[in-house]
Every structure is written in structure tokens, then in C-alpha cells.
């Protein structure tokens, strides 16, 4: 094993251990699971003789209206066509995704600021082995949570006589790969900046930017603005992980599993490109802030 791979393994082991003994990870999981519970319970209460109607339950009415406003009615219909679990999956996944991504970005900036990263490079690790160890930790923590969430929702399904549809499983898979690309962007933001606050600002700015581009593709805007926005979005979308997520799930709807896997590969390629740019950035900027 070469020195970088060895350093990455040693640091990843430590960071996984740290995550498993820190309360933050469990707090985020609990928040996700509590949200999942309420969403499934709310869904059950929103069913009448004609089926699911989000207007029957106040919380769902609010959520439904907001989603229709942001993404359009077709999107919302698709989201709930197989029951509550697809929407619940996204909502319950968000706290853990945000916790892992933001805490990693925060820690990267902090360790750079106080000289801990520099100390590790005397270790000898290097900036790349450092951020790869963080990525491995985040991937593993995400996988653990997705398994926990899957078990939780399977049990909820059995108890409420509901089933997890195929879209749920495909979304679960694509979410895992989507999160890798999001963590890669977190690393990129950390390599680009000198401290935690600016790294978090850049990271959240990027994610918000990707969400806006995605929302733009769903929202119907007329005339010149729509044309301009669509041209702009077409140029930018290639660097957005959400584009590949949407791309992959789009093919699931038409039963094209091959293109679904192409979507996954594209997410992995994008992650690799972002990590490679991060590697070049930290090499050029150094591990000192």
C-alpha cells in the first residue's frame, strides 16, 4: 500500500470512530426518523375513500402547496403516486446529509485554521489523503443511515399496510450516490477557502445554486426570462449533481434501467472530477490557512 493510501485508511478509521462516538450523528438520525414517522402517520390520515388527498391533513396541505409552487403539480403527483415513502425518504435523509456535509466542511476549515491539518502533513499525510479520509467517513455514515432508514420505513409500511414502491428503492440508490457528489462539493469548498465560515458559505451557496437551477427546469416561466434561464441552466447543469439525480430518475419512470445506471456513473464521474480539482486546489493553496 502506498503512503497516501495508508494515511487515508488510518485517518478514515479515526474519523469513523469519532463520528460514531459523537452525539451529532445520532441527533441528526433521530430528527430524520421522527420526521419520517410524522410524514407516514400524516399520510395515513390523508387517505379517504378516493385515495390520498394531501388537503386532508394540515401539514401535508402546507407541504403539498409549497411543492406544487416550487416544482409544479406533476412533480408532486409523481412524488406521492406510490404512497408516502418516496417523499419521506427525501425529507428524512436531509438532516443526516446536511449534518454530515456541513460538519465535514466545518471541521476541514477548523483543522486548517488551527494547524491540525498541517500537523497531520508532518505525520505524514497530505491534504488529499486528509479529505479522502473524510469522504470515506461520510460515505460510510450515509450508508449506515440509509440502511437504518430503510428498515424503519419497511417496518412502518408493514404496520400501516403500505408498501415501498420501486421508485423508492431507485431513489434510495441514487440518493446514496448523490450524497457522494455533494460531499465532494463540500471538500471542494473547503479546499477553496481559508476558514470554516467561508467554506460553509461557499458550500451552501453552491447547493442552493444547484437547487435553483433544478427548480428552474420545473417552473414554467414565460417569454424572454424563460429562454435566458433555460440557456443558462443548460450550460450550468452539467456541474450540478441534482441534474444527474433528475436524469437517472427520469429514466426509471420510463423503465430504462440502463440509463438509470448511466446516471449513477455520471454522478461518480462528476464526484471524481470535483475531487481531482480539489486535489489540485489544495496542492496549489497548501494546508495552511
Amino acid at each position: 500500500m502506498n503512503q497516501r493510501a495508508h494515511a487515508t485508511t488510518v485517518l478514515a478509521r479515526r474519523r469513523i470512530f469519532e463520528t460514531l462516538i459523537s452525539p451529532g450523528y445520532y441527533v441528526a438520525q433521530t430528527i430524520g426518523l421522527v420526521l419520517a414517522y410524522f410524514l407516514v402517520a400524516g399520510f395515513v390520515r390523508s387517505i379517504d375513500s378516493s385515495g390520498f388527498d394531501y388537503q386532508l391533513y394540515p401539514a401535508y396541505e402546507l407541504i403539498g402547496r409549497s411543492l406544487v409552487g416550487a416544482f409544479g403539480a406533476t412533480f408532486v403527483d409523481k412524488l406521492f403516486s406510490e404512497g408516502p415513502f418516496l417523499f419521506t425518504l427525501y425529507v428524512a435523509f436531509l438532516p443526516v446529509l446536511l449534518y454530515l456535509a456541513v460538519s465535514s466542511v466545518f471541521r476541514f476549515g477548523l483543522e486548517k485554521k488551527v494547524g491540525a491539518l498541517e500537523l497531520l502533513t508532518y505525520g505524514p499525510a497530505d491534504g488529499t489523503s486528509y479529505f479522502l479520509s473524510g469522504l470515506i467517513k461520510d460515505i460510510l455514515a450515509t450508508a449506515i443511515y440509509l440502511v437504518v432508514l430503510l428498515v424503519f420505513l419497511l417496518v412502518a409500511g408493514v404496520l400501516n399496510n403500505l408498501v415501498l414502491g420501486p421508485s423508492f428503492y431507485y431513489s434510495l440508490i441514487i440518493l446514496f450516490f448523490l450524497s457522494i457528489t455533494i460531499y465532494a462539493y463540500g471538500i471542494f469548498a473547503s479546499c477553496l477557502t481559508d476558514n470554516s465560515a467561508s467554506a460553509i458559505a461557499v458550500f451552501l451557496g453552491l447547493i442552493l445554486f444547484f437547487i435553483i437551477i433544478l427548480m428552474g427546469s420545473f417552473t414554467i416561466v414565460s417569454g424572454y426570462v424563460r429562454n435566458l434561464a433555460s440557456v443558462f441552466a443548460w450550460i450550468i447543469k452539467w456541474i450540478s449533481p441534482l441534474f444527474y439525480w433528475d436524469f437517472a430518475l427520469g429514466f426509471v419512470e420510463v423503465g430504462n434501467w440502463g440509463m438509470f445506471f448511466v446516471g449513477i456513473v455520471l454522478l461518480l464521474v462528476l464526484s471524481a472530477v470535483v475531487l481531482f480539482i480539489s486535489h489540485l486546489t489544495i496542492k496549489a493553496r497548501g494546508v495552511r490557512s
Partner: protein, 317 residues
Amino acid sequence: MIQTKNLTKRYGKFTAVNAVNLNIPSGEIYGFLGPNGAGKTSTIMMLLGIVKPTDGEIRLFDEPYSPRRLDLRRRIGVVPEKHPTGMWTWMTAGEYLQMFADLFALEESQKRIDHLLDRVGLAEVKNKKFAEFSRGMLQKLSIVRALLHDPDILFLDEPISGLDPFGVKQIRDLILEENREGRTIFISSHILSEMEKVCQRVAIIFGGRLMAEDKMKSMLTTLAKDREIHVDLEELPSDLPTKVKSLGFVQDATGQEKTLVVKVPKTGDYRKELSKFLIDQNLVPLSIQEKSLSLEEAFVTITKENIDLFAGIGGEK
């Protein structure tokens, strides 16, 4: 062992390090002195591969050095000025050292950790969280970490800054002991009295330029403008300094209580002539001592005003 040739670092238009040439042989304790902003840290960071030089060359162990040379990096131990605060606070001293031992893939790491902790007197606190350590304990722990992989060169950045006198002595003894075992030690510090006690050779950097580099004693002799002789007398007549000034070789003379302070040119030893003169005046010299220039005084001597005068002493010619 450590060589630099025209090592330069520029940040935009500002030149932090300007064509510095160092040549540090194996087994030496080398002191690197300079005021804040002199280019000391930038030079060290380039030597450690943390900062890229704008120009120039670094050779370690007679090989061209680059941060990619992990094999060379393994032969270096580094003690930074401060231990990173707020990091790894859940770890005990033993766990902290084990992490670095794992990074170096050390065999029999536990044995090595125990041995080094014992040497610095931290064996009893091995299982204590190091977040509770004092500044001195952290500094010793940092030195243990840097020595874990038995490096050939030890870089110490302000190793005794903020330590109590007992801690200073412990670190000083440790440095001397490590050097006796053949380790090359590069120390950067502003506590000049301590540098004087441990360093065999020193370099002074100022304004990014290496102003002087020499053996400690040679540098102090070279930088001294004159010699100062202190004569302790039973009694100091008030007119004695004026009488002494009349001697041809005396540049200046003053009285301090019962001590006569005489400045003479550094080119000769005038103690004999001075004793004879005092005896002729019916005075009894109790002791005659030559006060040598301290490193601190030498350091102060090298100021902006006399850059040109001292630029030729050592590294920069």
C-alpha cells in the same frame, strides 16, 4: 544535511524570503533567529514542504526535496510553535501518539510510545486526555510525537516559548540529549539566551535576507564593535574613569559603583596594561573580566540601519 540555494518566496510584490542560502551539516544544533515578519516562518514552511518556494532549491539529505518525497518527509520530525487547540480533545495522550504511530506504520509502536513518554516524564499521564494538559506538557507531548518515527532532523519552532523555568530546562536537556545521539536539530526561536545555550551555529534573518550565519562564538566576536572589560575594585575614585580615558588604547571608561567599565578595541587584549595602570594608581583590582557580546546584543546590532555592514558575514554575499 539541509541545503538551500537562492531560496526565495514572494507573495505578490512582497518578498518574504530573498535568496537565502543555508548549509546545515549533519549532527548540528542550528539556531534560526529573526524578528516577527523577518521571513523565518516562510523559510521553515518551505523547508518542510508546506509552502512552495517561488524560486531556488532545497536539498535534504543530499537529495532535491519536494513535498511529494514522502520518503524524505519520513526522516523529518516537526514540533510546531503551538499544539492545535480544540482538536482531538477526546483522545488520551497515548491515543494521540498512536494515531501518528499508525500514520508512520511503526512496528512495536506501544513500546516506542512508552519509552519516549518515560523520557520526558509523561509516562504517568499516558491515559489522561491531553485536553487537560498544561502548555509545558503539550510541548513535551509534541516533541514525543515528532520523535516517534526516529527522524534524522528535528525542526523545533519556538520550543520553549511560554514554558516555566523547569520546563525550559527539561526541553533544553532533551534537545542536547537528542543531539548527542546524532540528531540534527533546527531551532527557530526568539528566546536568544536559550539559543545561546544550545546552538552550535546560528543564522539571523532580517527583511527576508540572511544577514549572518556562523558558529555562535565567531558570530559574537565578529559582531562585537569593541571589547568591554569590567574591573572590580575595593574602591572606585571618582576621577578614575577620566584618568583611564587618557590611556591611548581606551575608547571609553565609566564607573558603576565599585566596577570600572572600560571599552577597548576588539583587536587586542589590554588587560595587562590596564592592571599595571591601576596598580600604579595604588588601586587593587579584585577581578578583571571581559564581558562578551550576548546573542541578544548581537541580534539587536543587526538592524535595518546596518544591513550593508553585516550582509557579507554569512549566508548572503
